[in-house]
Amino acid sequence: MREITLSQAVNEALAEEMRRDETVFIIGEDVAEAGTPFKVLSGLVEEFGTARVVDTPIAEPGFMGLAVGAAMTGTRPVVDLMFGDFIYLIMDQLCNQAAKTHYMSGGKLNVPLVLRTNLGATRRSAAQHSQSLHALVAHIPGLKVAMPSSAYEAKGLMKTAIRDNNPVVIFEDKLMYNDKAPVPEEEYLIPFGEANIKREGSDITLIATSSMVQVCEEAAEILAAEGISAEVIDPRTIVPLDEKTLIASAKKTSRVIVVDEGHQNYGVTGEIAGRINEKAFYHLDAPVLRMGAMDVPVPFSPALEDITVPTPQAVVENARKLMSGEMIHAA
């Protein structure tokens, strides 16, 4: 199978959907000729024109709000938010407007909108361009949240998101834009709420999102060499969450580590760990461990930044401790 980058995969998904449905349009800062700073959208304006690949002023709440209204009235906007950190700027339009319109109207108005943005630290971009803020969005009823872990997922999830009649937020890992993965030439969609078992195992389950899937796959390799069989599961969407697959794996292996690049406090790792505790408690041989990003603003210095994010080595060390029965967080 051919291999393309995550960036190309997103570009293909958008182009295919824009050809299929002329109500789909892209809106955001420097999306047209510039094709975004990450060059993900290069070439789209040439094919679809500036009426459907719309450059905006630097006004995130404004174009997000505009997209909500457009989505309510017959079009399907794909909003490009240059950095995930800018979500704070659009919170009212995303959480008070987009997320609640269907509910508050008693089901009469829909907001079929996609918000494309990114996450991921270790790019030496400091605290306002490095955050992974998907948990903030996942907290709000009415929003779906997709977290592609490779080019394959990025394409399939984007196409599904564009066809969804609800607001969907997609977080791409900005460090992965140039990473290649096998992506079929023929069309495919990835349904929301279906986790992908990336690697089967029997001793311990590593549940990982987005950027952390690669980290856990590497960790699983190292553990395999030590005779520990790790299962790696990528939920692919955290709303809806394929709880069933996660619980089944927890019951099978009896040990679970949840790894995610958002801050650990009140985050995705805690949410998933909580659900496993509630629904697989009597099958567990060890407490479910959370591994998120350190609860500090992301620092600039490489010496500091690199230690804020879970690494394969850190996952391996925690897995070894769980396997040996060592109490990790003894009171």
Binding site: T56, G62, T73, Q93, G107, K244
Partner: protein, 320 residues
């Protein structure tokens, strides 16, 4: 237009009574006194034109064609309400008549209205969108972001600023520096100030601007000088610390949009006093019937609580 203004006033009088008699959950923001704004504008629109409304939105809802029965049901949280009781007073909207919702975030609908106009342009439709908001919302940054884009892209949207003199409990002159219309003009947008108590003036201006919007000459901005008879909300009773009873009395007696239009209709020989009295009585009866209906109507079943969270999931909580 007279009928619609009286319908709004009558709706609000009943809503106020429902609040005072503790029959209505929560509270509400009265539109009384501002009727000529909603009616003058909405009468210049057709059904497929869109509006966005505010927390003080009953007037817009009536003016854009809503029925009393579904409105009172919504106000009381009943199943037959326009939003199945999930919106209430602050989110009341008859979506089938192009009302994109009442917004309880001040200035929150600026983007929605602008986006609705963007859709119309992209889809090649000549529908116009009117964004209703108060003078208080002119302090929100979103307004300037969206007006900038609307002007850059010639979107068919009319920003209708209902300046009722007060931003909640504060005089507008204390929250708005300089001129409100000049702010729109800074974006190269034509801006107009009109007497919001004169329904004919509002309607005539809006008809011209709607026509021009349909031809691609939008966007436009209108500042409508008006007055709210009640407090910020129904519970805002003792308000002499921010405005005097004399001032209220003056607006009610000398500038009331309904009284003014009524005397014009009579003096022009368009309607007689008797005909107008009959119409008023008929509207009063309609409202009483609708209130009675809504009071006896069913609440939504509790199973509806997790419905309409997502379009494709019947019960969101059953999904896990």
């Amino acid at each position: 237009m007279y009928r619609q203004m009286v319908r709004i006033r009558t709706f609000e009088d009943n809503a106020n009574q429902l609040y005072l008699s503790a029959k209505m959950p929560g509270l509400t923001h009265m539109y009384s006194g501002e009727e000529a704004v909603a009616v003058g504008i909405c009468e210049a629109l057709r059904k497929t034109d869109k509006i966005t409304s505010t927390h003080r939105g009953h007037g817009h809802c009536v003016a854009k064609g809503a029925e009393f029965k579904e409105m009172f049901c919504e106000l009381l949280g009943k199943e037959e309400g326009y939003c199945r009781g999930k919106g209430g007073s602050m989110h009341i909207a008859d979506q089938s008549n192009g009302n994109l919702g009442a917004n309880a975030i001040v200035g929150g609908s600026m983007g929605i209205a602008t986006g609705s106009a963007f859709s119309a342009k992209l889809l090649g439709q000549d529908d116009v969108t009117v964004c209703f908001f108060g003078d208080g919302a002119t302090a929100q940054g979103l307004m300037y972001e969206t007006m900038n884009m609307a002007a850059l892209w010639n979107l068919p949207v009319i920003y209708a600023c209902e300046n009722n003199g007060y931003s909640e409990y504060t005089k507008t002159e204390e929250i708005a520096a300089g001129s409100i219309t000049a702010r729109a003009e800074a974006f190269g947008m034509e801006a107009f100030q009109v007497d919001g108590q004169d329904v004919l003036a509002v309607n005539t201006l809006t008809e011209q601007l709607v026509e021009r919007c349909r031809k691609g000459e939008g966007p436009f901005f209108i500042e409508l000088m008006t007055y709210r008879y009640h407090g910020h909300h129904v519970g805002d009773i003792n308000r002499e610390y921010y405005r005097s009873k004399d001032e209220e009395q003056d607006w009610k007696e000398n500038r009331d949009p309904i009284i003014r239009f009524r005397s014009w209709l009579v003096s022009e020989g368009i309607a007689s006093e008797a005909e107008i009295d009959a119409m008023n009585a008929e509207i009063k009866d309609d409202a009483a019937t609708a209130v009675e209906y809504a009071l006896n109507a069913k609440y939504p079943d509790v199973s509806e609580v997790d419905m309409h969270v997502f379009t494709d999931v019947t019960h969101a909580l059953a999904q896990g």
